[in-house]
Each structure stands twice: as structure tokens, then as C-alpha cells.
């Protein structure tokens, strides 16, 4: 705290101008560090268990290439559009920021829709969380990522509302920036899921 909180540093990007904002952004980076450990633990669990299929199907028998590819394209593109949103924010253009956030949001919703469809398909095939250790760890790992994306969608909606209400301020800029960090992080996690879960599952 202290008097520095309200001192503006005009040479910095909007989201870095106050001490409070800088603390928040650093805190969020550290939180992402904790999230890395969380997902690393889930990946480790998956890699230990993924060949322990019991009487259930194996990864090779189960996975659908087409759906997963569509999901991947949607999420990777959304990360790019999220970057464009920050680019517009740095140029001080609220309309451009809102437009790209909205595109990001729609791509995110598209990703979740396809993921839910994929899960429903597996369950109809008789592959549920309860079937085998492989499927338990698959659903929990991929599901945790999906839950993060869903939370990100809700979060982004509320930030868009705040942008509409309050415009682009030091505070809203910080919130947009932090949600963008979160969104890119989920993209990175998905690349690992795509590689270590789906690609590995199709060859091993």
C-alpha cells in the first residue's frame, strides 16, 4: 500500500501504471506458476495410468481425431485473437478491444461445445470416468482444462460488461491483461494435452 498507489507512471502501458496493478500482475504470474504445478501433477498422473485400461477401451480404440483437431484449431486461434485484443488495448482502442475479446469468447465457447460433444460420445461408447484408471485420469485431466476454459469464458463476459460500463481505465486494463495471461496459459496447457494425451494415445 502507501501513497504510491495513485501515482501514475505515464511511460508504462496502461495496465502497469499503478503500483497496485503491478502487484496484481506479479501475483497472477505466481498463481500461474502454481497452476503449472497443478497441471504437471495431473499430467504425471495421466502418464502413470494411461496404459492401465483394465477391462475398458484403450486410448487408440477411443480417441476421435476429427473432433480433437477442430478443438485444437478453435483454441489456438482464440489465443491469437486474445493477443490481438491486447494489441488494440495498447493502442487505446476500446472498440477493437471489445471486438477481439468477443471473437475470443466465441471461439472459446466453440471449443467447449466440441469438447462436451467429444465427452458425450465417449460416454455413449461406454467409456466413463468409472470404467478404468486410464479413463479416470483422462477425464479429470482434460476436464480440469475444460473447467478452466469455462471459468475463463465466464470471467471474460464479466470483464466485457465492466469495459462497457466503465470504459478503458487503469483498472479495467489490468483486468483484461490478467484474463489474457490466463487465456494464453490455457492454450499452452492444451498443446501439452494434444501432444501427451491425444497424439501419444494414437500411437501407443
Amino acid at each position: 500500500m502507501g501513497e504510491a498507489v495513485h501515482r501514475y507512471d505515464e511511460t508504462m502501458p496502461l495496465e502497469y501504471r499503478t503500483e497496485e496493478n503491478r502487484l496484481n500482475i506479479l501475483g497472477f504470474w505466481i498463481f500461474l506458476g502454481a497452476e503449472v504445478v497443478l497441471f504437471a501433477t495431473l499430467f504425471a498422473t495421466y502418464l502413470v495410468l494411461f496404459q492401465r485400461t483394465g477391462s475398458g477401451p484403450t486410448a487408440q480404440e477411443l480417441f476421435q481425431v476429427k473432433d480433437v483437431l477442430i478443438e485444437t484449431l478453435l483454441l489456438l486461434t482464440s489465443s491469437f485473437t486474445c493477443g490481438l485484443a491486447i494489441f488494440e488495448m495498447r493502442r487505446g482502442r476500446l472498440a477493437g478491444l471489445l471486438a477481439w475479446l468477443l471473437v475470443t469468447l466465441l471461439l472459446g465457447i466453440g471449443f467447449i461445445t466440441f469438447e462436451v460433444r467429444e465427452f458425450i460420445h465417449y460416454v455413449h461408447e461406454g467409456a466413463t470416468m468409472q470404467t478404468s484408471a486410464f479413463l479416470s485420469s483422462f477425464f479429470v485431466l482434460v476436464g480440469t482444462h475444460g473447467a478452466h476454459v469455462s471459468l475463463g469464458i465466464g470471467w471474460m463476459i464479466f470483464i466485457i460488461i465492466q469495459l462497457l460500463q466503465r470504459g478503458l481505465t487503469v483498472k479495467t486494463a489490468r483486468k483484461v491483461f490478467i484474463v489474457s495471461l490466463y487465456w494464453h496459459f490455457l492454450d499452452v496447457v492444451w498443446i501439452f494435452i494434444f501432444t501427451l494425451v491425444y497424439l501419444l494415445g494414437m500411437v501407443v
Partner: protein, 648 residues
């Protein structure tokens, strides 16, 4: 579910506890109403975001939990005093050793340490609060309601009974069908989230909010240990989060992570648990080292010997803490290669720890030692902790560990490191910083009585356990037969436990006695301290420092006293101070966590979802909040400072 299953029945001890709980609750409500204190407790405590008050609340909870865990311990000792006792049955005994372990580590040691760090760290670095005061309140209340959820298990639904390590398959549905282990999974999850947020909060605070001139290598040693502890928290607690989540899925939704069929792997739990669990014990011991460093340096009246070596050894211990976890289950049968690697990494821990021991000894050398209560605890720590450490190296030898594993030798070892390390540090820190918390000293005479009773009792209780272990007595056995030759040493151990209990009672009496008759600390610096917390009034005003102190050396306040005769504040330098507003939201969000958690424990999913919706609502309200805190004007600071400094 029937009501007779909902409430625990059939044990006279439990009925007595029921009565005690109801009477306590009625008593609290009565006192608050009679003295018209509801508004006070809400405004001053439940909604506070002040790090000092939050710290005090942590410590109050920790002392209460020490009582609860201590009663568990005494019940166990009573049962084991003589062979073939029927004081507790096997099931009750299982529940008691489980709650004893879980409570002492997670709901006693952790909050005690976190409480001290809340009070001391911002003061030591010259800051006005932590980086995220609102988050700090949320951390506390999540810990509090997690602890409450865990504690109600023994009257509602039944306590967890699979040990504090909750190994599978024992902790799975097949062998533990009741709700007890659901309590374990859910309540640790809730308080664990709070701890993770504390870690992030203090990491940012220490990295970004130090007074001008306080470089990393000029930080007080306690702050250094907290910095490293926070790194451990941030990287270890997510593993617990995942492990507990998987346990919850296995228990509530019948997944196959740790089961015996369909590909599940029960040893995966043990690995995940200890990948968190080993760093966890260092999370509590590193701050203890920091506390002893401060106290030894203050009362030897010398600068800490080997400051840099101290820092590097903390970092070294923290690094090693992540690569030793397999030593908790050498007997799993991972093979000689794996066991050898973990055996060596474990023994390596003794090197940086040894460096620290010698640094404390060299700090004492040629010092003008003052034997205060805090100093007595610190001096007693050194030999007692060394006994724990040396037996730790014995346990680290994988081949020999096949003999020691899960015997009373192990019990003795970890109590020697955790009690002589962490508990001694908590008591030392409590005596040392007590005037900073409450404005009066703890009585030294009673403090020394506590010290001698507890320290002698501790050795009488736990030293015989090394021998009981070597004689074949294994951990977690609820009774033993006559003729094994274990009876005399068990009687001795029980006597020691009773002495420790008496020591604790003297401590509680001391808290009461000192509040009424204790010496007031008018100077803010009763011990001739070296670090910045002693530059504030006792207790500090809510903004801590009227102006930010400037630091130009280690032992900042000591140097200040030598150069300028103390912390000088010129009234013309005062500027308005920005402070965060109080908020009731951390409290009720945590209540929602409690409700959701209770729903999960009993698989009442409607209740769990209702609780979760309130949590989400709290997050949304927080996001839309537009509260920038408030400013304290210069005139008000002048008035407060004059009043606070009058005594000096």
C-alpha cells in the same frame, strides 16, 4: 441417512464433547450479547483486512487446535500406558491418531507459523500491509472454516480413521465406507486453497514491498525463511490440491485412481501425498529456523553469524525438500537404485542443516547472552533438534530403514524434529513477539515454568519411544500384550505427556495472568531488538509506520538506534496514508465453502451446488466492486503518533 448415523453415538467421551460444544457455543453467544459485542466482533475482527489482527486470529486458532490435538495425544497415551487396556477401542483409537496428526500439522503448526508471519513480516520489511489484504482475509477464513469442517467430524458423521497420510486402499470406499475420509479430503482442500493464496500473497509482499534500501541480502532472517517457505507453498500445495481432488473423485464418484481393480494404483497416492508432504514439513520448519535466528541474534546481542551461509542453506534445504519424498516408503520395494538415490538426497539435507546449527552456535560464541524465556526455547532447540536430525539420518539409510519403518523409532524421530523444531519455535516466537501483538509482555517466571515442564516432559515422553521402536513396537497399534517388555517405557512416556500437558496449562494461565497483571510495553522495543518491527509502537498503529523507514544495512533498527538514536519521524514529512477497506465478503465466501464442503462430505449435492453458487456470487461481487480504500489524513496521523509515542 438416519439421524443415528448422522450424529456419532455410543461413546461417553463423544457425548461429553457434544455437551461441551453446545455449552461453549451458548457461552460465546451469551457473552457477545450480554456485553453488546456483536458489532465490535464484526467490525474489528470478522471483516478486518489488517495483517496484525489476522495474525492474532491465526494464533488463537492454533492454540485452540494445539489443545484439541493435545487432548488426542493424551487419550492415546492413556490407552497405551499399560498392556491390554480397554480405554479406547480400535476404531476410536484409529480416529484419534488420524485427527491428532492432521490437526497438529495442518491446523496447529501451519496457522501458528502463518500467524507469526502475518504479524511480523510486513513490520520487518517496513510495509503498511501485505500486497493483497483482502486476499489475506480470505486465506484466513478459508483456513478457519476448513479447520471447523474437519473438527465437527467427530460429533457429526464420524472422524477420518486412515491415518493423517490417508494411504490407499485403506482410505478408499471399500475399507473406509463412512464419511470420515470425505471430511479429510474436503476440509484439507478448503484450508489448502487458503494456504496457497497466503503463499502467493507473501511472495509478492516480500519481493515488492520492502522498504527502500532493504536489498534481498539485508532482509531479516525470518523474512528470508518466509520468502523461501512461500516458494515451497506455491510449488507444493497444488500437488496436494490434485491429490485430494483425485481422492474426492475416488470416494464420491467411484473413479479408479487409487483402487485395487480396473487399473487403479494405490501407491500413486503415496507418491503424490509425499511430493507435497515432504516440502510441507519444511514449510513449517524453515520459518522455525527464522524465528530462532532472530531470537538467538537478539539475546546474544550480536549480529547473526554467517548470514549469507544461512540464506544459501535455506535455499539448499528448500531445493532438497522436493527430491526426497520416496524415503517415506523405502519399503514399497522400488528397488535398490531408486532407494539409493533418495537415501543420498535425504542424507544431504543434513549438510545445510548442520551449517545452520553451527551458525547459531557461533552467534552465541562471545555473545552477552540474556536467558529470557524466548531464548531458553531457542537454546533447548539446538540439542533436541540435533537428536531428531541424527535419527533422521539413521532412517535415511534405506537398508536400515526396513528395521525402523513405521516403528516407534520413527514416531520419536519426527516428534523430535517437529516439536523441538516447530513447537519450540512457536512458543519462542510467541514470547518474543507477544508485546508486539498485545502491548504487554508474557510473564517471564510463568514462561520459564512452561519451558521447563514442557521441555523435560517432551524428552521424558519421546526419548523412550526410540527404544520402544527398536524393541519392535509399531506405530498405530492400539494395544499390546503383557510380557513384551514394553510396559515400563510406555509408563514413562505417559508421564512425560502429562508433564507437557501441565506445561500447556501453565502457558494458558500465563496468557490470562499477563493480560491482567503483565508488564505493559511502553517503548515498543522491550528486548533491544535489531529489526524494524521494534521501531513501531506495541501494538503497532494500524498503518504500522507513519513514514516509510529507510534501510542502509542488515539489522536495520539496530543501526538506526546506533546512528540516530531510534526511528525518527519528522512531522513535516508526513503524507496521507492509503489503507484498504474492511470487507465482510471473505467471511461469507468462506462460510459458503464450508456449506459446499459439508454437502460434498455427505454427498448432498444440492447443498454443495448451492454453496458453490454463493462462492461464484462472491467472486462476481468482488470483481464489480469499486472500492479504492481510504486515506488517513496528516492531522489524524499526527494525533495517533503523539498518543502512541507518549509512553516512549
Amino acid at each position: 441417512m438416519k439421524w443415528s448415523e448422522f450424529f456419532v453415538t455410543g461413546e461417553p467421551l463423544i457425548y461429553a464433547a457434544d455437551v461441551a460444544i453446545v455449552l461453549t457455543m451458548v457461552g460465546i453467544v451469551f457473552v457477545l450479547t450480554y456485553f453488546k459485542k456483536w458489532k465490535w466482533i464484526w467490525n474489528e475482527w470478522l471483516t478486518t483486512v489488517d495483517h496484525k489482527k489476522i495474525g492474532v486470529m491465526y494464533i488463537i486458532c492454533a492454540v485452540l487446535m494445539l489443545f484439541r490435538g493435545g487432548v488426542d495425544a493424551l487419550l492415546m497415551r492413556a490407552q497405551l500406558t499399560a498392556p491390554n487396556m480397554n480405554f479406547l477401542d480400535a476404531q476410536h483409537y484409529n480416529e484419534i491418531f488420524t485427527t491428532h496428526g492432521t490437526i497438529m500439522i495442518l491446523f496447529m503448526a501451519m496457522p501458528f507459523i502463518i500467524g507469526l508471519m502475518n504479524i511480523v513480516v510486513p513490520l520487518q520489511i517496513g510495509a503498511r500491509d501485505v500486497a493483497f489484504p483482502y486476499l489475506n482475509a480470505l486465506s484466513f477464513w478459508l483456513f478457519f472454516f476448513g479447520a471447523m469442517l474437519f473438527n465437527i467430524s467427530f460429533v457429526i458423521g464420524g472422524s477420518p480413521d486412515a491415518g493423517w497420510t490417508a494411504y490407499f486402499p485403506l482410505a478408499g470406499n471399500e475399507f473406509s465406507p463412512g464419511v470420515g475420509n470425505n471430511y479429510y479430503a474436503v476440509s484439507l482442500q478448503i484450508s489448502g486453497i487458503g494456504t496457497l493464496m497466503t503463499g502467493i500473497n507473501f511472495l509478492v509482499t516480500i519481493l515488492k514491498m520492502r522498504a527502500p534500501g532493504m536489498t534481498l541480502m539485508r532482509m531479516p532472517m525470518f523474512t528470508w525463511t518466509i520468502l523461501i517457505t512461500c516458494v515451497l507453498i506455491v510449488f507444493a500445495f497444488p500437488v496436494l490440491t490434485v491429490a485430494l481432488a483425485l481422492m474426492t473423485f475416488d470416494r464420491l464418484f467411484d473413479t479408479q485412481f487409487f483402487t485395487m481393480a480396473n487399473g487403479g494404483m494405490s501407491m500413486l497416492w503415496a507418491n503424490l501425498f509425499w511430493i507435497w508432504g515432504h516440502p510441507e514439513v519444511y514449510i513449517v520448519i524453515l520459518p522455525a529456523f527464522g524465528i530462532f535466528s532472530e531470537i538467538v541474534s537478539t539475546f546474544a546481542q550480536k549480529r547473526l553469524f554467517g548470514y549469507k551461509a544461512m540464506v544459501y542453506s535455506i535455499v539448499g534445504i528448500a531445493f532438497l525438500s522436493f527430491i526426497v519424498w520416496v524415503h517415506h516408503f523405502f519399503t514399497m520395494g522400488a528397488g535398490p537404485e531408486v532407494n539409493s538415490v533418495f537415501s543420498i538426497t535425504t542424507m544431504a539435507v543434513a549438510i545445510p542443516t548442520g551449517v545452520k546449527i553451527f551458525n547459531w552456535l557461533f552467534t552465541l560464541r562471545k555473545g552477552k547472552i540474556r536467558f529470557t524465556t524466548a531464548m531458553l526455547w531457542s537454546l533447548a532447540f539446538i540439542p533436541n533438534f540435533v537428536i531428531g536430525g541424527v535419527t533422521g539420518v539413521m532412517l535415511a539409510m534405506a537398508a536400515a530403514d526396513y528395521q525402523y519403518h513405521n516403528s516407534y523409532f520413527l514416531i520419536a524421530h519426527f516428534h523430535y524434529v517437529l516439536i523441538a523444531g516447530v513447537v519450540f519455535a512457536c512458543f519462542a516466537g510467541l514470547h518474543y513477539w507477544y508485546p508486539k501483538m498485545f502491548g504487554h509482555m508474557l510473564n517471564e517466571r510463568l514462561g520459564k515454568w512452561t519451558f521447563w515442564l514442557f521441555m523435560i516432559g517432551f524428552n521424558v515422553c519421546f526419548f523412550p519411544m526410540y527404544f520402544l521402536g527398536l524393541m519392535g513396537m509399531t506405530r498405530r497399534m492400539y494395544t499390546y500384550s503383557d510380557g513384551l517388555g514394553w510396559t515400563p517405557l510406555n509408563v514413562v512416556a505417559t508421564v512425560g505427556a502429562v508433564l507437557m500437558g501441565i506445561g500447556f496449562i501453565v502457558l494458558c494461565y500465563n496468557i490470562y495472568y499477563s493480560a491482567r497483571y503483565g508488564e505493559r510495553d511502553m517503548t515498543g522495543d522491550p528486548w533491544n531488538g535489531r529489526t524494524l518491527e521494534w521501531a513501531t509502537a506495541s501494538p503497532p498503529v494500524h498503518y504500522n509506520f507513519p513514514v516509510t523507514p529507510i534501510v542502509d544495512d542488515l539489522d536495520a533498527y539496530w543501526v538506526m538506534k546506533k546512528k540516530q538514536g531510534g526511528f525518527q519521524v519528522k512531522e513535516e514529512e508526513l503524507k496521507p496514508i492509503h489503507m484498504p477497506s474492511n470487507s465482510g465478503r471473505p467471511f461469507w465466501i468462506s462460510v459458503a465453502f464450508f456449506v459446499a464442503g459439508f454437502g460434498l462430505v455427505f454427498k448432498w449435492f444440492a447443498l454443495a451446488i448451492a454453496g458453490a453458487l454463493f462462492i461464484v456470487l462472491g467472486l462476481i461481487l468482488r470483481s464489480f466492486e469499486n472500492d479504492d480504500g481510504y486515506h488517513i489524513g496528516v492531522d489524524e496521523i499526527k494525533r495517533t503518533e503523539r498518543a502512541a509515542r507518549k509512553g516512549a
